[in-house]
Amino acid sequence: MNDADKRVMHWQSTKRLMIITLSLWVFFSFVVHWFADALNSMSFLGFPLGFYMAAQGSEVAFVIIIFWFARAQHKIDQEYGFAEEEA
């Protein structure tokens, strides 16, 4: 695999990861809250679920997604030899 091929493959994997990350982001940012009223009829840890997702649930999900993303992207960089040399 020459450098140009590697770049193409690296960018494809990067794009795929970006799309997965943003799909999760869309779900926790918009989809869940669109149905807040319906979710409020359910209860989670004593909270109405719709309220819980806005006050805490989505935020927890964001933190997990973002740390996962940082790891996954670094793995992609390493796989194709584009990670920075450790100082």
Binding site: W11, S29, G46, F47, Y52, A55, E59, I66, F67
Partner: protein, 606 residues
């Protein structure tokens, strides 16, 4: 202290600092027991912390371009995360957010969601690539990627408008807190706040701002969390309040019915800015319009997060691309600590006020009894609170109690009957939050003007010394301008903050994102995108807010990015496709931006 192995010693230095701050809190608590007055404690808290920040600012002074603009690109991941969190969490987050939730309930939580999730966009679409690019400012990226002085100028204009809107709100917040803690008039407080802000940033630029922001984060997070933990434990909700306030939320819904929320008539006569409780806490609207309003606000705040230059430029200071990415994650974590606490704080405060079974409850008590309370008197005197016995029955009802949202955070320790040392701590925390954001914003504006407008457009031959002098002079001028506008009190703190996000995402989001992700994007497209989006958004804001136009499907002045962003995207894509594709050199530059390894696109000093 700031020489040699300073970076290696960071954990030790900030560990000592945190310890020292806690010792200071304990000292204040002891002095309070010995009879030191509440006012003196407040003054000591604010004065002591501001003095520490100024000292850090002084120690970090520099005359090097790299240190001034990007802190020498050596800020470790976790520390940059803390600095970004302080940069990010403004007076609005600290002082107004819990109050907003208190009054706005579920609908207001859109801000909490929007101001956290935006970091996923920052991490996945922007920060690592901008770090690789090696720019000093956001217009520096746009100007280099697309080329041309007009392109750079457009980016500078959007940046200045968005950041300036924001910075006046921050200086306003420092003024409010300083006025209250130091017992001085608001107009004087504003200038005092500005003085503190400038001391942190003028001598050392980004380097000084970075290390003061870390110090400010530590103060603000301690100040936010301690009262909530204390209150929760005092009232037996449990050890970790954030996890267990579900029952309190449910109880509030019962109490709202008990007190007749929604059935009481509105009482008029309260001073401007004061509100009575009218919106149920938990209930989300059941129609599509309320869902639409929630998600559009979330989207504007998230897209704004990803476009605000004072945030993006924090990731230019990390040692590597990988570090930039991880640093975004740490930023979100540190922000999350405060944001998932804010709804808990709003819940506890609300319960304290509404629940007749608690000693602190005031709704349903006699007006004479309520008016005799210390905190009611204190906050009425400064015009933050009002009790109006509209029906003359001598009993305080829900619709007769008015307050400003800001005091949910500032007065909670007093409402809950915590010692005054906690109130002093909260004032110091609010000051830290507002100052750190103002610092970042002022620096973003001054850097864009000095680096992009002065050095890159007006005088490319300027010497280093002259460049840095110009940068400092601009900082001073913009700060003074901000303080002047803030002292006019044009809008409430939060209205202006949301506008900054809408301005930023209308003008800058797509030119930045597509500059990395779409090679075909060219100069004409970027200019069209910036101007189109910014003008459309601004026009809509003007029409809705000042010209009396009816908002389209619930898109009010807080959400005008919903108009600006699509216009920006369409303009940029259409104009790019209609004009020539970028030359091979630019395309190679984009390729280089997309991989972490290798040299930065821009030279180390430029």
């Amino acid at each position: 202290m700031f020489k040699g192995d300073f970076i290696d010693n960071l954990p030790k230095i900030y560990g000592t600092y945190t310890g020292g701050f806690i010792v200071f809190i304990i000292l204040m608590a002891i002095l309070e027991q010995m009879g030191l007055g509440a006012d003196t404690i407040g003054i000591l808290f604010v004065a002591f912390t501001v003095f520490i920040y100024a000292a850090i600012g002084w120690l970090s002074r520099t005359m090097e371009v790299g240190a001034y603009y990007v802190a020498g690109r050596q800020v470790p991941t976790v520390f940059n995360g803390m600095a970004t969190a302080a940069d990010w969490m403004s007076g609005a987050s600290f002082v107004a957010m819990a109050g907003g939730i208190y009054f706005g309930g579920h609908g207001y939580l859109a801000f909490v969601v929007g101001w956290t999730g935006g970091y996923i966009l920052v991490a996945s679409l922007m920060a690592p690539y901008l770090r690789k690019f090696g720019c000093y400012t956001v217009p520096d990226f746009i100007g280099t990627r697309y080329g041309g002085k007009l392109t750079r100028l457009c980016a500078v204009v959007v940046l200045v408008v968005a950041s300036f809107t924001y910075v006046t709100a921050q200086i306003n917040a420092t003024g409010t807190i300083a006025a209250r803690a130091l017992q001085i008039p608001f107009e004087v407080g504003v200038w005092f706040g500005l003085l503190g802000i400038l001391l942190c940033s003028m001598l050392g630029g980004m380097r000084a701002v970075t290390w003061t922001q870390v110090a400010q984060y530590i103060v603000l997070i301690i100040a936010y969390l301690i009262p909530v933990f204390w209150m929760s434990n005092k009232q037996g909700f449990g050890l970790v309040p954030q996890l267990v306030y579900g029952d309190a939320v449910t109880r509030i819904t019962e109490l709202e019915q008990l007190h007749g929320l929604g059935t009481l008539e509105a009482v008029s006569g309260a001073a401007g800015g004061l509100k009575a409780l009218t919106v149920p806490f938990v209930q989300a609207g059941s129609d599509a319009l309320s869902s639409w309003k929630f998600v559009t606000l979330v989207l504007c705040m998230m897209a704004g997060t990803a476009s605000l230059p004072h945030i993006l430029m924090r990731y230019f200071t990390t040692p590597s691309v990988k570090a930039a990415r991880q640093s975004v994650a740490w930023s979100l974590f540190f922000i999350f600590l405060l944001y998932f606490t804010a709804p808990a704080l709003a819940t506890f405060t609300k319960l304290q006020i509404l629940d007749p079974n608690l000693a602190t409850g005031i709704i349903g008590k006699s007006i004479a009894e309520v008016n005799a309370l210390d905190w009611i008197q204190k906050w009425s005197n400064v015009g933050f609170l009002q009790v109006i016995d509209a029906n003359g029955d001598g009993i305080l009802q829900l619709n007769e109690f008015f307050m400003r949202g800001d005091i949910v955070v500032l007065a909670t320790p007093e409402i809950a009957g915590l010692p005054y040392v906690i109130s002093g701590l909260v004032a110091a925390g609010g000051m830290a939050a507002a100052m750190s954001t103002a610092d970042g914003l002022l620096l973003a504006i001054a850097n864009a003007l000095s680096h992009d407008l002065y050095y890159k457009i007006i005088d490319p031959n300027a010497e280093t010394k002259k460049r840095l002098l110009v940068a400092r002079a601009l900082l001073l001028i913009i700060g003074a301008l901000g303080a002047f506008v803030a002292s006019l009190k044009l809008t409430t703190i939060l209205g202006a903050v949301a506008w900054a996000f809408d301005f930023a995402c209308s003008g800058l989001l797509f030119p930045i994102v597509l500059g990395i992700w779409w090679k075909r994007a060219n100069r004409a497209g970027a200019i069209a995108g910036m101007i189109g989006g910014f003008v459309a958004g601004t026009w809509y804001l003007y029409m809705v807010r000042f010209a009396g136009m009816d908002p389209w499907i619930g898109i009010d002045h807080l959400r005008f990015g919903i108009i600006g962003m699509p216009v920006s995207l369409v303009c940029m894509v259409v104009v790019s496709l209609m004009t020539e594709e970028p030359d091979a050199e630019t395309q190679a530059m984009v390729d280089e931006t997309r991989v972490p390894a290798g040299r930065a696109v821009l030279r180390a000093t430029h």
